[in-house]
């Protein structure tokens, strides 16, 4: 499960680039700060590898392992 805190996110896109499953893409809405931020387009495919969180310069992404 990926949670992206849009208040921290500045829309650099590193998470999108490095997601091995390509399940993120840049959203169409802007955050309060005026940045576009990524959205999860395929949650089912997420393996909770946390590479998105690893590469996030703003510590805006938290990942919780899936049950089971």
């Amino acid at each position: 499960m990926i949670t992206i805190n849009e208040l921290y996110c500045k829309g650099c896109g590193y998470c999108i680039k490095f997601c091995p499953r390509h399940i993120l893409e840049m959203g169409k809405e802007r955050s309060q700060k005026g940045h576009f931020y990524p959205v999860n387009i395929n949650e089912e495919a997420c393996t909770s590898c946390a590479i998105c969180a690893l590469m996030c310069p703003e510590a805006a992404i938290e990942v919780t392992a899936k049950e089971g």
């Binding site: 805190n5 208040l7 921290y8 500045k10 829309g11 650099c12 896109g13 590193y14 680039k17 490095f18 700060k33 940045h35 393996t47 909770s48 590898c49 946390a50 590479i51 969180a53 690893l54 590469m55 996030c56 310069p57 703003e58 510590a59 805006a60 992404i61 938290e62 990942v63 919780t64 392992a65 899936k66």
Partner: protein
């Protein structure tokens, strides 16, 4: 299954960095290490001058601001008086490799028991992108508008290589933050440096190759590719010295 939580050692606020700036990532890696070693109340961050100083408000624990380039001297004073605290400096390349070259080399040579985190983005970011001591040959900056010319400005300084030839330092390593592999290695390296310090082993130095989308004039994603093609081949990542691990 892996999971990741924003470290509590990082205060709940946005960094002061531009979008895609790897300073932010480096800041978080330090916070990860502080938290994993349970040093939230024991860490003292010696803040330098430049964009590196923007993380003054990032970490829990105590912070102290140092003059430009002098963080290793300030850290020397602190660590000698408070040997039980986890003391680290976080410095950029202008701060560490130009104006503070004497301080870093001498602190390393004395084997001061603190850790230096060196963020190398090859530019003076805070002042608007002038040539840094680490700016690559041919790289443009506001003071090398035709690209850095080694005939008049010399070559980019390789700090890990310089410091690893000294006797005293116990751990000297360089990591590139433009790939997941590099970031994972960096995370381990920072933690190892802190552990060595806490064990009283001596001077530890971790160089992190970072970027500057704003002053390089590139999108964040383009800087990562630029680093792959230009920065990483010149500033080769790796462990340059690991006394405990037998690498002299």
């Amino acid at each position: 299954m892996p999971s990741y939580k924003r470290p509590g050692a990082l205060l709940p606020m946005s960094t002061g960095y531009c979008p895609g700036c790897l300073h932010g990532l480096a800041t978080r890696l330090v916070a990860d290490a502080i938290e994993e070693l349970n040093q939230q109340k024991n860490a003292i961050n010696v803040v330098s001058v430049g964009c590196s100083a923007l993380n003054l408000y990032s970490w829990c624990g105590d912070d102290i601001g140092a003059a430009h380039g002098r963080a290793p001297a300030v850290a020397t004073g602190i660590k000698r008086c408070l040997p039980d605290r986890l003391v680290f400096t976080y410095q950029g390349d202008g701060d560490l490799a130009a104006i503070g070259l004497a301080e870093i080399m001498s602190a390393a040579n004395r084997g001061e028991n603190f850790t230096v985190i060196f963020a190398n983005n090859q530019t003076y970011g805070m002042t608007g992108g002038q040539m840094a001591p680490t700016t690559l040959v041919g790289q443009k900056s506001t003071t090398t508008p035709y690209g850095r010319d080694p005939v008049t400005t010399g070559y980019p300084l390789k700090m890990c290589e310089l410091i690893s030839v000294l006797e005293a330092p116990v751990f000297v390593a360089r990591y590139a933050l433009n790939s997941p592999k590099g970031v994972m290695d960096a995370k381990k390296g920072i933690k190892k440096a802190f552990e060595l310090q806490l064990a009283g082993k001596g001077f530890t130095f971790v160089e992190l190759l970072t970027n500057c989308p704003t002053n390089w004039g590139m999108s964040p994603l383009a800087t990562l590719d630029y680093m792959n093609t230009n920065t990483v081949p010149y500033f080769v990542p790796g462990v340059y010295k690991d006394k405990e691990g037998g690498k002299q």
